[in-house]
Amino acid sequence: MFRSFRFRPRQLILAAILMLVGLAGLFYFSGTDVRLGTTDLTSLGLLAGGLIFYSGMLVIVAMFESETVLSIALLLPSIVAVAIFVYGFIGWSIRVSLSQWQGLLPDYTWAGLKQYYNLFNNDPRFLIDVRNTAVFTVGFILGCLIIGLGLAILLDQKLKGEALFRGIFLFPMSISFIASGVVWAWLMNPATGDRLTGINMIFHLLHLDFLISLWYTNPQPWGMAFTVIPAVWQLSGFTMALYLGGIRSISDDLREAARVDGATEFEIYRYIILPMLQPVTLSAVIILGHMSLKIFDLIVALGKQDIRLDVPGIYMWDTTFKADNYAQGAAIGVLMLVSVAILVVPYLVQNMRTETEI
C-alpha cells in the first residue's frame, strides 16, 4: 500500500492550509450566528468547512499514489455517513429495544429480550401485523411485476402514442402516498343499497353487478390484499419503465434471428426476452420490497387505523409516539429490519458471489 509514497512539500503545505481553514470554519460557524440578511448561514458554513477540511485530507492521500487508498478515501464520506446514519442508529434502536424505556424520560435500564418476547407471545396485534405485511408484500410485488411487465410488452409493440401511454402510466408516481390512499378509499367504498358509490357504482352502471365488492372490508386476509391496489397503481408504471428499458436494451438482431428460426412472437418473449429480464426483476424486487416492508402513509390514509389493516410501521408509530413506549417501538423497528435482512441478505450474498467469480 505504501510502496509508492512520494513526499511533496508544496502539496503538504496546501493540504495543511486547507485543513486549517476547514477546521477554523467549523469552529467559527459552530460558535457564532452568521447571517446574511435574514438567511442563517450556520449550517451552510459548517458543511463548507467540513468539505474544505476533507479536500485537504484528499491532497495528502493523493501523495500515496495508490489508487486503492485514493478510492477508499473518496468513498470515505459515504462510508462514514452510512456508518453513522444507518448502522449507528440501528445500534441505538437495538439498545433501546433492550431497555425499559417507557414514558417521555429516556430510561436505558437493561430489560433483556422482554419486548421481543411480549410481541411474539402475548400480542395479538403484532401477529396481525406480520400476516398483513406478508400479504401486502407478496401482493404488491407480484402486482407491480405482472402489470408492469404486461404494460411494457404492450408498449414494446411500437404503437403510435407510446409516449402518451408511458406518461399516463408513470403519472401516479408523482402523487403522494397519503393523497392516493384517500382517493382510493373513496373509490373502494363498500357501501351497498342506495349508498352505493365509488367503483361499485361504476360496476352497477355497467350492469356488472356481480363484480361489486366489499374491497378491503372483506374478511382477512383477503381484505388486506385489496390495500395493494393503490400501491400497485402508483408503482406499476415505474416497474413498466424498468421492464421497457430492459426489453429495449435487448438487441433486435437476437429477435430477428429467432424469427428466422421460425419462433412465434409469443415464443420470443417466453424463451428469449423473459429470461434476459431476470436482472431487471431482481432490481425491481429490491426497490419495491424496501417500500412495501416500510409501508406507512398509504395504509394510514386508506385504512383509517382499522386494526384489520394494521402494519408494523403503524404499530411502531403508535407505541412510540402515542403510547410513549419507546422500548417496544424500537423492538418493532428492529424486527422490521430483521425481516428485511432475512429477505434481502441471501440475494445480496448471491449477488456478491457471482460477481466475485467473474
Binding site: L44, G88, Q157, L159, S249, Q278
Partner: protein, 274 residues
C-alpha cells in the same frame, strides 16, 4: 397483414382500458378539486360540480402552499444534483476500482435502503443537533443525500458495470489518473443514469414528509408539510386538499414530462439492470 392490424387494435383496446383505470383516481381528484365544499360527498362522488368550476379551491390551495414552494425547490434541487454526483462517484469506484472487501462494502451500503425511518427519528434529531445542522434546509438536504446513498450507488454501479473496462484501459495508457478517468471518460457517458437518479431523488425528496417536518423549523418547512397542514384536526376541506395535492404534484409532473424520455433512455441503457 390483416392479422397484424387486428392484434394492434386489440393492443390499443387493452392499453386504452388500462389508461382509463390509471386515470380514474386522477379524474376523481380533479373533479373533487373543482367542487364547492358542501358538494363533497361520497354519494355524489361522480357528479359534476354545480354552478361551474370552483377555481377558488386551487387559488386557496396555492396560497397555502406558495410560501413553502420555495423551500422545497431550494431543498430538492441541490439534493438531486449532489446526491447523483455522490452516487456516481461511489458507483464508479465500487464497480471499476474494486479492492478487497469492496463488494462487502457495497452490500453494507445497500442494506441502508431498508432502514425504517420512523424508528430512528430520535437519534437522528439528536445527532443533527450535535453537528449543528438541525432546523435548517442544508441539514435536510444532507439527510436526504445520505439516505439516498444506497439507491444512487446501486443505480450507478449497475450502469457502470455495463460499460466495458476497455475504454478505461485505453485512458490509462494515455496516462489518465483515477479522477481523470472519471471526469473525462465516465462522467460524459453517464447522462442517462443521471436522468434516472435525478428523477428518482427529486420525486422522493419532493414527496417526503417525515424528515421534513421533524428536521426543519417552521420557516423552512417544505411544501409537503404545508400540504399536510391543509387537513385540520377536526374539519377537512377535501376539495381544497385535492386541489392542493394536484398543485403539489405539478413540479414532479413537469420533471416527468420533460425528463421522462431521458429517464426511459437511462433505463434502456442499463441503469437498473441489476
Amino acid at each position: 397483414m390483416n392479422r397484424r392490424a387486428a392484434t394492434n387494435a386489440l393492443f390499443y383496446l387493452i392499453l386504452i382500458a388500462c389508461a382509463i383505470v390509471f386515470l380514474l383516481p386522477i379524474y376523481l381528484m380533479v373533479l373533487t378539486g373543482f367542487k364547492p365544499f358542501n358538494e363533497v360527498d361520497l354519494k355524489t362522488m361522480w357528479s359534476l360540480p354545480t354552478n361551474g368550476l370552483h377555481i377558488e379551491n386551487f387559488i386557496a390551495g396555492y396560497q397555502q402552499l406558495a410560501p413553502n414552494l420555495k423551500n422545497s425547490l431550494m431543498m430538492v434541487i441541490p439534493e438531486a444534483v449532489l446526491s447523483s454526483l455522490l452516487g456516481s462517484l461511489n458507483g464508479y469506484l465500487l464497480s471499476k476500482w474494486k479492492f478487497r472487501g469492496s463488494n462487502l462494502l457495497f452490500t453494507l451500503i445497500l442494506f441502508g435502503m431498508f432502514i425504517p425511518y420512523q424508528s430512528i427519528l430520535i437519534p437522528l434529531v439528536m445527532f443533527m443537533q450535535f453537528i449543528k445542522l438541525y432546523g435548517d434546509l442544508p441539514g435536510l438536504v444532507l439527510v436526504h443525500i445520505i439516505y439516498g446513498i444506497p439507491i444512487t450507488t446501486l443505480i450507478f454501479r449497475n450502469y457502470y458495470a455495463g460499460i466495458s473496462t476497455e475504454i478505461l484501459e485505453a485512458g490509462r495508457i494515455d496516462g489518465a489518473s483515477l479522477i481523470g478517468l472519471y471526469r473525462h471518460i465516465m462522467l460524459p457517458l453517464s447522462a442517462p443514469s443521471f436522468a434516472v437518479v435525478i428523477i428518482w431523488q427529486f420525486t422522493q425528496a419532493w414527496n417526503e414528509f417525515l424528515f421534513a417536518v421533524i428536521l426543519t423549523n417552521q420557516s423552512h418547512w417544505p411544501v409537503t408539510v404545508a400540504l399536510n397542514n391543509l387537513a385540520g384536526s377536526q374539519l377537512v376541506q377535501w376539495n381544497v386538499l385535492m386541489a392542493a395535492t394536484l398543485l403539489a404534484a405539478l413540479p414532479t409532473l413537469l420533471v416527468y414530462i420533460f425528463l421522462g424520455r431521458f429517464f426511459l433512455r437511462g433505463l434502456m441503457a442499463g441503469a437498473l439492470k441489476g
